[in-house]
Point group: C2
Chain length 412, copies 2
C-alpha cells in the first residue's frame, strides 16, 4: 500500500448534504488504516483554514461508535463555507498563507468535499502547488444533492435526498388523496436543483405499486411553458380531483426568467454569482388558482431534503464513505488535482467502481439530466431515469435514537 | 367479555395523521377478537356512508402482515371527509338515510375516528339514536395532530407529528449552523395548529445535548407582538449568526388578525368556517428582512408533518391502536355517545389508561397549551411542556421498505 508520511486535512464546502460526513469518516478511516499521524479538520472550509481554525479529528473519532454517529449526522460536521478562492495571479498572499498553514501543520494531503465551486478550489490549489514544485496533494471528494458534477456517474448526497423526496412525496400524495375532495386540488411540490433537474427527476420514484406518483414533473432542462402547464392541469382536473405536480426550483421560461422571479420575490445572489431561488411552487400555485379556480397547496421541501439524514440511503452513505477512502488512496499514490469519480460498472447487481479524474475537466462543469430521458411532452421521465436513480436509494441506516430523536455528533 | 352481535362500521374524518390507520387496526382487531362477523369501512367518512360507499375490511386485513402495513400507512386508509352533519331538527331525511344504511348492513356499532368536528357527528348521531330509542352505539376515537381535544391527556397523531417536527428541526438547524455564516440568518419554521400551539410547542424537544434548539417558539395562546419579535431577533443577531424561530401558523396580533393575513394571501374558509392558514413564516421572513436586513429562510412543514409515518412514534402508534381497541370494548359494554380518552396515570414509567367520556363535554371543545407552561416573555416553554410531550415521541416503528421506499396499504 502506498503511504502518506505527513498529516492530512479535510474540509467541507458548499451546501451540506445528509451524507457529507460519511466522506469525512471514510477519509479518516483510510488515513488511520494507512498510519497517518494526524487528521485535521478545517472549521468552515478553506475560509477557516486561512484563519488556522483547525481541529484534530482524533479527538472526536477515536472510537468506532463515534464514526457511526458521524455517518448518521446530517449537514457538515466541520462546517462549510462559500468562500471563493481568487485566481493565484495577483492574489499570491492568499496562496502563501494557505501553504504556510500547510507547512506549519505538516500537511501532505488536502481533501476537499464539495460540489462544483469547491472543485474549483481544489483545481486552483493543485495548479499552484505544481507551478511552485510543491509536494502537497489536493484531492476533491464529490458531494452535492444537486448531482450536477460532470464525469462521475452520480454524487454522494444525491441518493439520500432522492430517497427523502420520494418518501415525502408518497406521504403527501396519500394525504391529499385521502381527503375526499369534491373539487380538484393541485398539490405543487418544489424541489431543489439550481440548473440541473436531478432531484426533481427523482420524484419518478414515487410512482409505484401503492402510489400514483406525480401527474407531471418539470425540470429546468426544458423550457417551462405556463400556458401548457395550466392546460395540462385543466385536463387532469377534468378526470380526477387530486393533481400532483413536482417542480424543480430552477425552471425557466423561454425568455430566460426563472418562474420564481414572476412571484416578485427578492432577488438575492450568492458569492459565486448564483441567484438564490425559491418560491417557484408558490408562484405557480397563484397562477393555477387564478386561471383554473382550483384549490392549490404549495410545499417547498427546502433544506429538509438535503438535511434528512434520518431517511438516508445506505448505498449513498456507503459510497460517500468509499469516495473519501478512495481519495486518500489516490493521494498516497501521488495523485493531485483530481476528484474521486464513480463509474457504474454493473447495473444488476448494481456496483460502482471508484476512480479519479482530472479536476480541470470537472471544476465549474455542470451535468444535466439528458434531454433524451425526458418524455416528449416535457412532463415526465422515461424508464432510463428510474433505472439510473433506483439503485442509489436502496438500503437504510437506522438512526441512533436518544430520548426519541436521532442523535448527532457535534463539534465541542 | 361483553359482546357485539351485529356488524360494525369504521369511519375516518378530518385532517389525516400518521397514525389514524392504527386506530382502524385496533378497532378491527378488537372486533375480530370479539367474534364480530363483518367490519365495514366508510369510504370518505359519513359522506361516503350516506352514499353506501362501504368496503369490507376483511378483504384487506385478513392477515397479520396487512395489519402491520396498515399501521405503517400514513393518512386515512379509508379516506376522510369534512362533511358537517346538520342538526337533526329539520334534517330528518339525512338521519333516516344514515339509519337505513345501518339497518341494511346490520350495523350495531359505529366508530368515528377524528377531531373536534368529527366528535360533533358522533354526538348528533348518538343523540338521535337515543331520542328514537334505537339500539345502535356511536363511539368517537380521538385523532388530531393539533392535540386540541378536551378531557383526553393527548390525542393519537400528536406524538408522531411532534417526533417528526423535532427531528426535522434538529436537521435543518444543523444545516443552517454548518454554513459558516458571516451575517445573521434567520430560519423561520412554520408549524401547524389552528388555535392551539401544541405542535409548535413540540419544538422544545429539539433543544438537547447535541442541538441548541429554537431561539424562540411562538404559540397562538399568546398575542404576537411584531415589534417585540423583531427586537428579540436583533438581540440574538448581535450574539450569533444563526437565529432559529419556530412559529405556529395560528399566531395572532392583538387586534385579532392572523399574522399570515398580513402577507396578503388569499383568505379561504373551510366548510366548518375555519380560516385556512398558511404563509405565516413567509410573512414574518419578509418583515424581518425589511426591518433588520438579516437574511431569512422560511420553512413550512405543511402536510409533511401530519403525513410522516416514516418517523412515527411507537408510543403513538400503540396508543392509537389501543384507543380503537378500547372503543370497541366500550361499545360492547353498551356505551354510546362517548369518546375514548387517555388518562396519564403514571409519568415515570409513562403509562396512559384508556377510558371513555361523555361526547357532549368534548365535541366542539378546544384544549390549548396552558398559559402557565409558556415562559413569561412568551418566547418559550417551561419544563412542564417537555415532561408532557417527551413520552409521546418515544420508540420507533420501522417502515417496510419496498424498492427503497416505505410501503403503504391502499384501497383497491
Amino acid at each position: 500500500m502506498a503511504k502518506i508520511t505527513g498529516n492530512i486535512v479535510i474540509g467541507q464546502s458548499g451546501g451540506p448534504t445528509a451524507v457529507i460526513n460519511a466522506s469525512v469518516a471514510g477519509i479518516y478511516k483510510a488515513a488511520k488504516d494507512m498510519g497517518v499521524n494526524k487528521v485535521y479538520g478545517m472549521v468552515h472550509g478553506i475560509q477557516g483554514f486561512l484563519e488556522r481554525n483547525l481541529i484534530s479529528l482524533e479527538e472526536y473519532l477515536d472510537n468506532g461508535i463515534n464514526i457511526e454517529i458521524l455517518k448518521r449526522t446530517p449537514s457538515a460536521f466541520l462546517g462549510t463555507c462559500r468562500y471563493k478562492l481568487p485566481e493565484a495571479d495577483g492574489n499570491e498572499a492568499v496562496y502563501e498563507q494557505i501553504f504556510r498553514v500547510m507547512e506549519d501543520y505538516d500537511i501532505e494531503a488536502f481533501f476537499y468535499i464539495g460540489g462544483n465551486d469547491s472543485m474549483d478550489t481544489v483545481k486552483l490549489l493543485s495548479d499552484y502547488a505544481k507551478a511552485h514544485d510543491r509536494k502537497e496533494r489536493f484531492v476533491g471528494i464529490p458531494k452535492t444533492v444537486d448531482n450536477d458534477l460532470p464525469v462521475t456517474d452520480h454524487c454522494p448526497g444525491y441518493g439520500s435526498a432522492a430517497k427523502y423526496i420520494a418518501t415525502s412525496l408518497k406521504e403527501v400524495i396519500r394525504d391529499v388523496e385521502s381527503t375526499g375532495l369534491s373539487n380538484p386540488t393541485v398539490l405543487l411540490v418544489e424541489i431543489m436543483g439550481r440548473h440541473a433537474g436531478w432531484l426533481a427527476a427523482a420524484s419518478v420514484l414515487a410512482k409505484c405499486e401503492d402510489c400514483a406518483g406525480a401527474d407531471a414533473i418539470y425540470l429546468p432542462e426544458r423550457v417551462f411553458d405556463i400556458d401548457n402547464f395550466v392546460e395540462h392541469i385543466r385536463e387532469v382536473g377534468a378526470k380526477k380531483n387530486t393533481i400532483v405536480i413536482a417542480v424543480s426550483e430552477g425552471i425557466k421560461l423561454a425568455d430566460g426568467r426563472f418562474v420564481c422571479e414572476l412571484g416578485g420575490g427578492a432577488d438575492t445572489v450568492d458569492v459565486f454569482g448564483h441567484k438564490q431561488l425559491s418560491g417557484c411552487a408558490l408562484t405557480l400555485a397563484g397562477i393555477v388558482s387564478a386561471r383554473t379556480g382550483f384549490k392549490t397547496r404549495a410545499i417547498e421541501l427546502s433544506t429538509l431534503q438535503r438535511a434528512a439524514n434520518h431517511m438516508a440511503s445506505l448505498t449513498d452513505i456507503d459510497e460517500a464513505m468509499q469516495a473519501g477512502y478512495h481519495g486518500v488512496i489516490a493521494a498516497a499514490e501521488g495523485k493531485t488535482g483530481v476528484m474521486v469519480v464513480m463509474e457504474r460498472v454493473s447495473q444488476q447487481p448494481y456496483f460502482c467502481r471508484m476512480d479519479t479524474y482530472d479536476i480541470h475537466n470537472i471544476a465549474n462543469g455542470e451535468k444535466k439530466v439528458p434531454l433524451e430521458w425526458i418524455t416528449e411532452d416535457g412532463r415526465g421521465l422515461k424508464e432510463e431515469m428510474l433505472r439510473y436513480v433506483r439503485p442509489l436509494i436502496m438500503g437504510e441506516v437506522l438512526p441512533v435514537y436518544v430520548d426519541g430523536l436521532p442523535a448527532h455528533l457535534v463539534r465541542r
